[in-house]
Symmetry: C2
Subunit: 440 residues, 2 copies
């Protein structure tokens, strides 16, 4: 017998999974479209060279291989580097600023672990070619709408800016070289706490005084206005940090005008975000109901696209991890959970009534109902009820000789076992109302 | 500067392409769901061994590679072999008969050519675990609905059965070995014509008498009933062919009961279809408006899944080639062609009116309109009109201090240049009605 296993870390998604994943993708797609984002699709495979030199420490995770012609290829690591390639390659077909979304798989050449897959799906949304804080605000507003529509409870988007962390390092007396270790230490704050970060800083050669100053700054908490105020005071001597704080303030103003509720975002200098190509605003969304990590994140990267295009193309964007959202929604009991999208199973009584059953099925489908039909004209009703029930279909319809003679259809609720006889022209409405109630 | 090319034969799809592709995918998804098909997704990468030994002559086209651990892997060739793997691997989670659809990319390790890509997208729909002719009919009915909803003019589905071709070879006096060459010769009928097929048959050692008999049989044309009648008479001595004709007759009866118009299908013994794993009914859809090849095809394959599952699992299915449908729809001017899904561009008059413009945008989005906003508060209206127009957005909305004072919005039709002032509460309706008229 042939090999019957999927590759570890690359998952099969049966209908129960897929129906929830499709729901997530549909919500993201709708929100993106409403915001005027247009779809882009790039190949799964890229020249390895295209991906190399952009990912910093993560470069070793690129899923590389050679094709038969000896070309060095790779399965794409994300959809951001391919976006940068596309903006350069099709510059004359794209009007900037360009809002695009892209939904598809990306790959990592790493050992799979809980929540980390070799193949995973992401939905990216980016605004290419604008340095306006309104662009940053729009991306965060989009994040806010998606998580709200998906029903995530109590989520908060944390905001920071790369130049605030840089400023904190500088005003603490560190040179540009040491700023990297500040960055890496802060990135672990949630995992190792203030003491852990302090130890890390000291180990990397930061003085006690500087470490204390850094820790005091990254632990400033409060309302967005209060945090901005406090940081502005503390970082007043650093020009780049001051500009970054001004920029963040404009983002906040944009968020308010876009109707994002104040309790949905918070500024904190503790947020680092891993990807080396971020240059400005960074953000990530968390919910206290799922403390294991962030739901998703993103930020501004003004230099990556220029690496391909040969001119500066400021860009801000985010990536929804479909697998992460799916896993968390399952854990928090959010979203639809069913094993089939079929709403009714039209049984076949016998060979003579087959055409009538097929006709009923056609009528139900025309009304928009997802309708299965029996395929075995000799199966008998009991077997068909059982088949429908095992599949998770809520209703079975029966149209035997008696029903045909009386102009009725018997509708059987497969969960309760209850069945009722309805005039044929009322069947659609009965199924629709169940479905409406069921989804409410 | 980094490499800025996609890999040859693996295409980027910019929004103009993607909007049409999304339309195709949406129609297929809706029709599948209405028929009670549920979604499945499998990884892009499979063990090479999983794909090998199932594809006959096409096996050399498998896109193979080795990963870093030296494992022999492959990008999937189609979505059918992964389906077979899934049915075996998750047997206890699947209730047969199982209708599943799957939409995603597959790969060929071949030289790209016009209409042939290394990466291409397919939408598969299969009914697993039923040998009922109603299953074959349902798949063909689904094909019929999809092509009808996509607006393909004058298409016809050609139907045949593998055992009819086998019977033709047998009654012409050929042994099982020679049947293969009959099959390959007939497959080229449309390209090389009757004389070409005759030559091919003679070259492969078939006698003149046998070749003439074969050609007479495969050229029987007429109504489905007439062709079935004539072939039944001619193949009466061959048991398997007679059973196949009986089976085809039952499929035709199912198609009629499912409401597929008679002019939409035709039985012809000329249809071969390439894939070696077909065992029963085979079909393909063509339109005279695009004579370069078939639109799509499929058939019954009762043995492939058993190769994994270790027990017979009769299955019938089809694959819509998204790339093929897309290419043909463009050539025949079917379907939507636009460069953006955005419906309106809300301009920003100046920094003071920004919040009001963002508020209007929010209102339009809440009404379901795909709404872009200006990002540059100093751009000026002219520049924003130009941006919107270059993107292909049909309307721009203006909300300056005058409009705000009067409670109106100016709506500019960017194609005609015409602009009118509307009470704010009429803007949604005006844009909606344009959009309705535009899509009609």
């Amino acid at each position: 017998m042939a090999n019957v296993q999927n590759i570890k870390g690359m998952r099969d998604h049966l209908p129960k999974d897929m129906l929830l994943r499709q729901h997530i993708v549909a919500v993201i797609t709708q929100v993106c479209q409403r915001h005027g984002f247009d779809p882009l699709q790039t190949p799964i495979v890229e020249y390895a060279e295209t991906l190399e030199g952009k990912l910093g420490d993560d470069e070793s995770l690129i899923y590389r291989f050679e094709d038969h012609g000896g070309r060095r290829l790779a399965l794409r690591y994300d959809q951001t580097v391919p976006l940068a390639r596309v903006v350069a390659q099709y510059a004359n077909q794209i009007t900037l600023p360009w809002r695009r979304y892209a939904i598809g798989p990306s790959y990592r050449g790493e050992r799979p672990a809980r929540g980390r897959y070799r193949e995973f799906y992401q939905a990216d949304a980016d605004i290419v070619g604008s340095n306006s804080p309104l662009a940053d605000a729009e991306i965060i507003s989009l994040l806010n709408e998606v998580l709200t529509e998906l029903g995530f409870p109590g989520f908060v988007t944390l905001l920071n800016h790369r130049q605030i962390i840089g400023g904190i390092a500088r005003v603490s007396g560190l040179d540009e070289q040491s700023a990297g270790s500040v960055y890496r230490a802060i990135d672990k704050f949630d995992k190792i706490g203030a003491d852990g970060v302090r130890n890390d800083l000291l180990k990397s050669g930061v003085s006690e005084a500087a470490a204390d100053r850094i820790l005091a700054l990254v632990q400033i908490d409060g309302s967005s206005d209060a945090v901005l105020e406090a940081l502005s005071e503390q970082l007043a001597d650093d020009e780049r940090a001051s500009a970054a704080l001004e920029n963040l303030r404009a983002v906040i103003v944009g968020l308010a005008a876009m109707g994002v509720p104040e309790e949905r975002y918070r500024i904190t200098a503790r947020l680092a975000r891993g990807l080396s190509y971020y240059t400005g605003v960074v953000f990530e969304a968390n919910t206290p109901h799922w403390p294991e990590g962030s739901l998703l994140g993103g930020g501004r990267y003004d230099e990556l696209i220029g690496q391909f295009a040969g001119r500066p193309v400021p860009t801000v964007g985010l990536a929804f991890g479909i697998d992460r959202l799916h896993d968390v929604m399952l854990e928090l009991n959010l979203g639809p959970v069913s094993t089939t999208a079929a709403q009714v199973f039209v049984t076949i009584f016998n060979a003579e009534t087959t055409a009538a059953s097929l006709d009923l099925a056609r009528e139900l489908r025309a009304a928009g109902l997802n309708t299965l039909i029996g395929l075995d004209t000799k199966a008998g009703l009991g077997k068909q009820f059982k088949e429908a029930d095992r599949k998770g279909v809520p209703f079975a319809a029966v149209l035997g000789p008696d029903e045909l003679a009386q102009g009725v259809v018997v509708l059987k609720d497969l969960r309760s076992g209850e069945q009722r006889s309805l005039p044929r022209n009322e069947v659609v409405a009965a199924l629709m109302s169940y479905n409406g109630a069921h989804n409410a």
